[in-house]
Amino acid sequence: MWRYMGRKIGIYGITFVVAVTINWMIPRFMPGDPVSSMLSRASISDPEALERMTAYYNDVFGLDTPLHQQYFSFWAGLFRGDLGISVWLYPEPVTDIILRAVPFTVGLLLPAIILSWIIGNRFGAFAARSKILDNTLLPIGYILTATPYMWIALLLAWALAVNGGFFPTAGGYSFALTPSFSWVFISNLLSHWFLPFLSMFVVALGGWAIGMRNMIIYELEADYSNYLQALGAPRRLIRRYAFRNAMLPQITGLAVQLGTLIAGALLTEIVFNYPGLGTLMLNSLNNRDFFLLQGIFLFVVIGVLIANFIIDIIYVLVDPRTRVQMTGGSS
């Protein structure tokens, strides 16, 4: 068991190193001078400030030092939690800006992923009940997964916000309010949260439903299902077993899909101008704020790795087979 976990952690460690290396490499090996390219977009009128910034960024990149030294100082900065200073919101540290946005993205992603996973699995198991359900519910699921996140967000915003007027179209909360634990603020927060959440939820739902449907059919064909039927066990019991066993690969699926889901959240946020990492990313792109962009990238990677690790732990807890194999049971 520890060996299994060690292996997993090893892979995550390597992934992290690879991600950091990519992060370090991209600005250095892409054509053009990153500093001037960055500052060309920064709207700074004060020439003195511009000079200060140029000096700062040249120093941070350390382009005049040997490559390996650049690489190590990059890591060193990372361990100090120093991801650099933003160009766009100069002179605010990138870390602070990102930490402000993270709660919004997490608050959007976590409920959307968990709820869509739970409900999608039920939905898929339900579809596998009969040919008619399968033929009607399933195509809906396929259309949903094929929908680009931003488009469903647009449709929902158009229908429920612009035309319906039930929800606000943009932002995380009304600018007129200051964050507090009051009912007014929280309900305002929720009404801004709902549409981005709904669009994420709907697209992800389709994917889980399809995955569950495919898995449960496979489980219902398995030998143990056949045997239970031969012994006259009611469909209810067989379905319950099949559902539970089909859940296990769906947990792994959660880990695999994480990247796509996060990308979806970023796109959705952009449509609603929701103040999470996605909108931040767009702003950093538009302002050529590469420090901010790379900071976001690192945060996302770390988030994905942590989530993967949690999923691994859950999987081991839920599937008895992994535990048995890992403690060396006879087979």
């Binding site: 060996r3 060690g6 292996r7």
Partner: protein
């Protein structure tokens, strides 16, 4: 002709190959021309692994396999291997898995031709195939130009033997070749092995079924957990089994005219003498044999 000396096979299993699984342990044996040697064992005895090592499909961990004097345990290079397969061929357990289901069955012949006889004319090749089919007693009209699923298991196995005969082989490794066949056809395939033996071929016959091993072979090797438990002339091994494991196996085999109860009663009436088995130290992975009578060897106790 074929000589295995102190052959071991250790698999590394588990994450990063941490654990070790010893599949074959210190096996030494020989196969002479015109001799059928049966490797008999239950699942996990390493019998198939030995067959695969002889065929060069699995690497040898340590020890040596010699064929006609050459060391073949680590053949390097594609052409050396190809030359080896000119003289040594194999037939496997599952006839339906031995044929690629999307191609016609006689493609196994075509592959031999393109690798080994690219120069041969169509007419000569045709003659060669007909001769090989005649040896395995197959009617060409029934088997050529057919898909594998249109043929029976027995026909497919005979096709594979015919395929091996297209080459000038000296040794045939027959890995459980009849265990998937029906009772009414498996005996014909076994008889065929007997015919090949008459032509001077050496045959390494891998099987889990004691009565089948007994029927065709000159020498029997009983394997347990990768090591040889008992080895000797078939008649001696079956009439006078010395290793307790061989005795146990023989008492469990369902026989056609004797019930288990009868076998047990006979054993109880005149119990065989215990034979002193060779021993090894804990942690020693060798498996020595002692010669009980001429050519009849007994191995370590691993129970």
């Amino acid at each position: 002709m074929l000589e295995l000396s102190h052959v071991h096979k250790v698999y590394r299993v588990g994450a990063f190959g941490g654990a070790r699984l010893r599949a074959v342990r210190d096996v030494s044996l020989t196969v002479e021309p015109g001799e059928v040697v049966s490797l008999i064992g239950e699942s996990g005895s390493g019998k198939s692994t030995i067959g695969k090592m002889v065929l060069g499909l699995t690497k040898v961990s340590s020890g040596q396999i010699r064929f006609e004097g050459d060391d073949v345990s680590h053949i390097r290079g594609f052409s050396a291997k190809k030359e080896y397969y000119r003289r040594v061929q194999g037939v496997f357990q599952d006839p339906f898995s031995s044929f690629n289901p999307i191609f016609k069955a006689d493609r196994v012949f075509t592959m031999i031709r393109s690798s080994y006889f690219p120069e041969m004319s169509d007419a000569d090749w045709k003659d060669k195939i007909l001769a090989a089919l005649a040896t395995v007693r197959l009617d060409p009209d029934n088997v050529l130009d057919k898909y594998p699923h249109q043929l029976s298991g027995g026909q497919l196995q005979r096709l594979l033997i015919a395929r091996a005969l297209l080459l000038d082989i000296r040794l045939l490794v027959a890995d459980e070749i009849i265990s998937m066949l029906d009772a009414s056809t498996r005996i014909d395939v076994l008889n065929l092995l007997g015919d090949l033996k008459e032509r001077g071929l050496g045959i390494l016959f891998v099987t889990h079924d004691l009565s089948l091993g007994n029927y065709v072979s000159d020498k029997s090797v009983i394997l347990r957990k990768g090591a040889i438990a008992e080895m000797g002339p078939t008649r001696r091994v079956f009439e006078n089994p010395l290793h307790p494991y061989s005795r146990h196996l023989l008492s469990c085999v369902p026989q056609l005219h004797r019930t288990w109860a009868e076998v047990d009663a006979e054993l109880a009436a005149n119990p065989p003498e215990d034979y002193l088995l060779p021993t090894v130290e804990e942690g020693d992975d060798s498996a020595p044999l002692t010669e009980a009578e001429e050519g009849h060897f007994v191995g370590i106790d691993q129970s």
